[in-house]
Symmetry: C2
Subunit: 192 residues, 2 copies
């Protein structure tokens, strides 16, 4: 039997945004808006950033989650930062980024096994794998084995070739021009 149009339009995607340019994370959040509007549950998991610093994108998704709770529009949103301040297992003195990344990935792996979200944004996850903090083969096998139609977006520089091979859609954000090269500062509303 041929698949229906609905089936053709709802295939699980593994999407990678890599490269040295700006726009990897913002493009993931833009996809998050589309998924949210479809009514999907959105999981945002930031592997490097501290949860103590509340970004504009987080504030916006909190408002979208509140709109969902109040009126049923869109989907729910979970947002976790697996950076300093996240884990309850150790103090923030002597923070061990690798352990936090591993705990974070275990947390996400369990959600993938149980189909918690419709879209997962794994922010800076490519960078974490490239650092060698996780076993890339285990990561690929968990991603590939995920059940249902869960979409996953991975961002970060230096995405390993195993991740690129496993992905359905890969975009490299390439820097052509950036004001930091001229010694300029990050801009409120642009960098966060």
């Amino acid at each position: 039997m041929s698949p229906t149009t609905g089936q053709l339009r709802h295939k699980p995607r593994l999407i990678v945004h890599t490269g040295d340019g700006k726009g990897k994370s913002t493009a993931a959040f833009g996809l998050g808006l589309r998924g949210w509007a479809q009514g999907w549950s959105i999981g945002v998991f930031q592997f490097i950033k501290s949860g103590k610093w509340r970004t504009g994108e987080r504030l916006a998704f909190e408002q979208l989650a509140a709109a969902h709770d109040a009126t049923g529009v869109g989907g729910p949103v979970e947002w976790q930062c697996f950076g300093p301040g996240w884990t309850w297992l150790r103090s923030n003195n002597g923070v061990d980024q690798q352990s936090m990344a591993r705990e974070g990935w275990e947390y996400v792996s369990e959600q993938l096994r149980t189909c918690t979200h419709g879209l997962y944004i794994l922010d800076e996850f490519a960078h974490v794998i490239a650092k060698g903090w996780l076993d890339v083969d285990e990561v690929v096998s968990t991603l590939t084995a995920r059940p249902g139609t869960q979409h996953v977006v991975i961002t970060g520089r230096n995405a390993p070739r195993e991740i690129i091979a496993a992905a359905d859609l890969v975009t490299s954000m390439t820097k052509l021009k950036h004001p930091f090269d001229l010694g300029e500062r990050g801009q409120a509303g642009i960098e966060w």
Copy 2:
């Protein structure tokens, strides 16, 4: 007198997302979330798309605008599509895309002159200029002369070199892998 940190962090930016890859528009919408969270007025102007087709990103920004109106969080949002269905000057029979783009740019130019928004997302505008539908020198001179700290993001393939020269930050979204190349269909929540 040296500029303050506040001044250094609030310089007007002209940002371009170009290239053949996915993520040009979604990254612009991600920036829109950051600007909205800063309390800026956000103007989204889509130069190709028809307003008749309501996208997920539009639904999400409508909710953010409603949150602003209700509680004062974030900023207001204006969203216009300068494609079929936009203009009131002619019927949709014999739609003239070039005239619609020109009217759209006049509309945006007037807003830039009067500082209507804090961030302008000119979606597919690079494509419109590359088509030769607008005078690129006039566009650059209007953008360069804009007063205040208005940020502008331009998306679209084939951004002309004059636009790239005038921009502060340019990213090329480069396609490494895309499921359309395998004959697959667009996905709900991913492509719109």
